[in-house]
């Protein structure tokens, strides 16, 4: 009974988590765009479902793709979407106890998200057009500049806590008595993850991304837009888990009414945390990365976060 109930609970939690992330992804992208508009001086209503309506409209159109490179364009957005969904299933958002918790290795999640983003950009190279290809090449090189920062950001939690999974990290932070020396480095690693997720075209209407999809229409284009939003939300959630691991509920009993109330509170907390991080991302996009050389600045900042995390982790040990 215990194992079956735990399995059912895990399935239910995974389903809720997946639905929550999928629904909130274009909403968060719209919130980031609205914050940027507000910070840049323009006004306007929030309209959180604006991007959802756009994606639904594009999904409803009849499909069209370029004849050259049709094989790559037919498969790449969908394979990227399945990789992002697999990564999203592994990252905990408001509670642990989901299915496949033991496989939520930090390096595996980062690798899946990175590979999905790379695959989305390869679609621009598929049809062999000049402008699209150059935009895709620029975005890809900008991504590859982030790999050392990602390696450091994964190595810091691995060195700070025993075990490699995100769920294990959250449980360790909950149970350990003296976690003061680890919170700083973990927060910096989370900051590095959020910087990785601050795409140059993070919030709706990125010019380079749209140019890259010039020869696509219909469901393929909608899937590419949705997958990009989901990747951004996944990075933000991963960073948020490292910044504030106490906000995640650990369900140790099954099926008690207090648990349900706890879950609702956790979902509300997650929503507040995510919207706050979206505001932070919008500020970063507007004030810090407003110039043209965004890729180099982003990679440099993320690497700096990683190095500071290492310094904090080991300098703390020296004195205590």
């Amino acid at each position: 009974m215990g194992a079956l109930a735990a399995g059912m609970q895990g399935l239910l939690l995974s389903g809720m988590h997946l639905v929550l992330m999928m629904v909130m992804a274009p909403v968060c992208a719209r919130v980031i765009a609205w914050c940027r508009q507000g910070l840049a001086g323009g006004g306007g209503p929030v309209a959180p479902l604006l991007r959802w309506r756009m994606i639904a409209r594009i999904w409803g159109r009849s499909g069209m793709r370029a004849a050259s490179g049709a094989g790559v364009t037919a498969l790449a957005p969908w394979v990227a979407l399945s990789m992002v969904l697999a990564a999203v299933l592994l990252v905990p958002s408001f509670s642990l106890g989901m299915m496949g918790e033991d496989g939520s290795d930090l390096l595996m999640v980062s690798g899946l998200l990175f590979a999905a983003t790379a695959l989305l950009h390869v679609v621009g190279l598929a049809s062999g057009q000049g402008r699209e290809g150059r935009m895709a090449a620029m975005l890809l090189v900008g991504m590859m500049l982030l790999v050392p920062a990602l390696v450091m950001a994964v190595a810091v939690p691995w060195m700070a806590t025993p075990g490699t999974t995100i769920a294990g990290l959250v449980r360790f932070m909950r149970m350990t008595q003296d976690s003061a020396g680890i919170r700083g480095p973990l927060a910096l690693a989370g900051g590095a993850f959020i910087l990785v997720g601050v795409d140059r075209v993070a919030a709706g209407g990125g010019r380079a991304f749209n140019v890259m999809m010039d020869n696509l229409a219909g469901p393929d284009r909608a899937v590419m837009l949705f997958a990009r939003d989901l990747v951004t939300l996944a990075w933000i959630t991963l960073g948020g888990d490292l910044l504030w691991p106490d906000a995640i509920v650990i369900p140790d009993t099954t099926g008690s009414p207090r648990l349900f109330v706890g879950m609702m509170a956790a979902i509300a907390l997650w929503g507040v945390r995510t919207l706050g991080l979206c505001g932070v991302v919008a500020c970063l996009r507007t004030f810090v990365m407003a110039s043209g050389q965004v890729a180099r600045l982003r990679a440099g900042l993320a690497l700096l976060c990683g190095c500071l995390a290492i310094v904090l982790l080991f300098a703390g040990r020296e004195f205590g």
Partner: protein, 602 residues
């Protein structure tokens, strides 16, 4: 004609060798193996051909390479078989034969001489000290056997240098970041045999390095830093190379720098007495040897098939291969993803183990001790990013886009027998990704020999077959879980794909963005409007912000270095054809140096 008749005989021979090695390795027949290993038979036979468990696992992989390489790589593979399983002198001579057989005609002169010198040194070192080749007889303490006081100290100093020199040409190690014909040789199947021999030599080093903590730790960190730099140089070579075989050669050089790094980590683990980490290091090295061999054999088989169909694989002549030969492109993408490190595949498992081993390094000291390790990790991260960019460049220029030349446009999928062999190779690479423990079960006796444990086979259950061996005894990675998750999610996405009817999408001609129509003699459009192979390099140079002044200083430093080199060789330059004569003098000079060392050591 004798040539077609030789090939089935060769294949049958390699097949027999593989079956014999498998039978000897699996724990079914330990009796005869132990008798052979301790020299129960004729001692001359033992000196000539002498397989202990470590050599048998490498021999299995060499037989696999021989099976796939056919007639072209027969010499190199046979020499590799003797280099791996021979007695001390025979193995060094066979290793020198492998280096000579792998020489590329276009490489600069005297390229393999360091390797031949290193092999000569190794043969002298091995035959004096009662060497590494015979198995440790039972009843003798392995540590006392490996250390011999003063001789142990000098051997500890010289042995890594000798192995590094010997494996320098075998593992394609090189500091040169250029991508031209002189710096980079086109990768062929026989190079994978050299890789197996090189890995085997580093495993031997780890097995028999004398037990001196301080020297071991220093050499370990030195090898770590060296391997990180070599990895970066190899990735840069892959990024600037201009045809597919040279790009693969650069990627292969990156994979081949990893055994040096893992051996360095093993030396540090032995110095600090960390048995879990040492076990993880040995497992990682064994898995690297097997996975590197299998994945690269599969990739080279695919590239051979592609070359037969599409002509010389110059990047600026190809394009649009994903449309012209879809099945081969899918197989090539899977192979490249395995090399690049996509999560369920074997490249990711090795990267995971490597990062865990870095985390397992002793952190007892202060911040000043962590800075070099952090620098090494940053260099590895940069090199990994450059390597991924080289992979994406290969896929983007050759597989995506439109064909650039009529010869490239004439490519199509090969016939089923050839395609079947390529599929078998890629399926073997996937099997090794999903069942990493299976190879470790086959090679457990060799692993026990390297880690100097008496009893090798710990209780292996079915679950351990699927798990990547834990580098520090705590963490576990099971690639099958990731694969199952991806398949389930992919199935759900596929259902949505089918329901929306995406396969009925109509294909239209690309919008030329207002450009004038393409002349009729370019049926695939103007090749210059596509993204070429140089765009990625130029973008990386622009974005990574190489300052303008630095290039001038670098050129001045290079010019000064070359001038110094010329002045040093000045007396010899009066003699015509100096490099040719030098190359033939190298072996006698090497033997003379080795004799001097022999006198000093004994």
């Amino acid at each position: 004609m004798t040539r077609p008749a030789c090939v089935p005989v060769l294949r049958a021979g390699w097949g027999i060798v593989m079956v014999a090695t498998l039978v000897a390795l699996l724990p079914l027949l330990p009796g005869p193996l132990a008798r052979i290993a301790t020299g129960g038979g004729a001692s001359r036979l033992v000196m000539l051909f002498h397989p202990d468990p470590l050599a048998l696992s490498a021999l299995l992989l060499v037989a696999l390479v021989g099976l796939y390489s056919g007639l072209a790589g027969a010499l190199a593979c046979s020499a590799a078989a003797f280099a791996v399983a021979g007695g001390p002198v025979v193995s060094a001579m066979a290793g020198a034969c492998v280096i000579v057989a792998l020489r590329d005609g276009a490489a600069r002169r005297g390229r393999g001489t360091g390797g031949v010198l290193g092999m000569a040194l190794l043969s002298m070192l091995l035959s004096t000290g009662g060497g590494i080749a015979p198995a440790i007889p039972p009843g003798i303490d392995p540590i006392a056997f490996a250390t011999a006081g003063q001789a142990g100290l000098s051997r500890g100093l010289v042995l890594p240098v000798a192995v590094l020199m010997a494996t320098w040409p075998l593992l394609h190690l090189s500091w040169r970041p250029g991508g031209g014909r002189r710096h980079l040789s086109a990768l062929r199947m026989a190079d994978v045999a050299g890789f197996v021999v090189g890995c085997h030599l580093w495993l031997r080093l780890l097995a028999c390095y004398p037990d001196i903590p301080v020297l071991s730790e220093r050499w370990g960190y030195a090898l770590l830093a060296l391997a990180a730099g070599l990895f970066l140089a190899a990735s840069l070579r892959a990024l600037v190379a201009r045809d597919i075989r040279r790009v693969l050669s650069g990627l292969f050089g990156g994979t081949a720098a990893l055994p040096v790094m893992v051996t360095g980590l093993g030396l540090v683990a032995r110095a600090n007495d960390l048995p879990d980490m040492l076990g993880g290091v040995v497992a990682c090295l064994m898995l690297l040897m097997a996975a590197g061999c299998i994945v690269w054999v599969a990739l080279l088989r695919l590239v051979d098939a592609m070359e037969a169909e599409a002509g010389r694989l110059v990047l600026m002549h190809l394009g649009g291969l994903a449309t012209l030969m879809p099945r081969l492109s899918v197989l090539l993408s899977v192979g490249l993803l395995a090399v690049g490190g996509l999560p369920p595949l074997i490249g990711f498992s090795i990267a995971w183990m490597l990062l865990r081993l870095f985390g397992g390094l002793p952190h007892g000291g202060s911040l000043a001790h962590e800075i070099p390790i952090a620098c090494v990790m940053i260099v590895m991260g940069v090199a990994w990013g450059v390597r991924l960019l080289a992979l994406v460049r290969l896929v983007g220029v050759a597989l995506c886009g439109r064909p650039r030349t009529p010869r490239g446009a004439g490519a199509c999928d090969p016939a089923w027998p050839i395609l079947g062999r390529c599929v078998v190779g890629v399926v073997m690479a996937c099997v090794v990704s999903v069942l990493p423990g299976a190879w470790l079960v086959v090679a457990h006796a060799g692993m026990a020999q390297v880690a100097r444990q008496a009893n090798g086979l710990v209780g292996m259950d079915a679950a351990a077959l699927f798990a990547v061996p834990s580098p520090d005894g705590v963490s576990v990675l099971v690639p099958v879980h990731g694969l199952v998750l991806l398949l389930v999610v992919g199935g759900m996405v596929g259902i949505v794909w089918r329901m929306r009817g995406v396969s009925a999408t109509r294909q239209v001609a690309t919008w030329e963005q207002g450009a004038p129509p393409v002349p009729p003699w370019m049926p695939f459009g103007d090749p210059l409007t596509q993204v070429g192979a140089g765009v990625f390099v130029r973008l990386l140079q622009d974005m990574a912000g190489w300052p303008d002044g630095a290039a001038i200083w670098l050129r001045r430093a290079l010019r000064a270095w070359r001038a110094c080199g010329r002045y040093l060789v000045l007396p010899l330059r009066r003699v015509p054809n100096a490099p040719d004569r030098l190359a033939s003098l190298a072996l006698p000079v090497g033997v003379a140096i080795a004799m001097i060392l022999l006198c000093w050591l004994s």
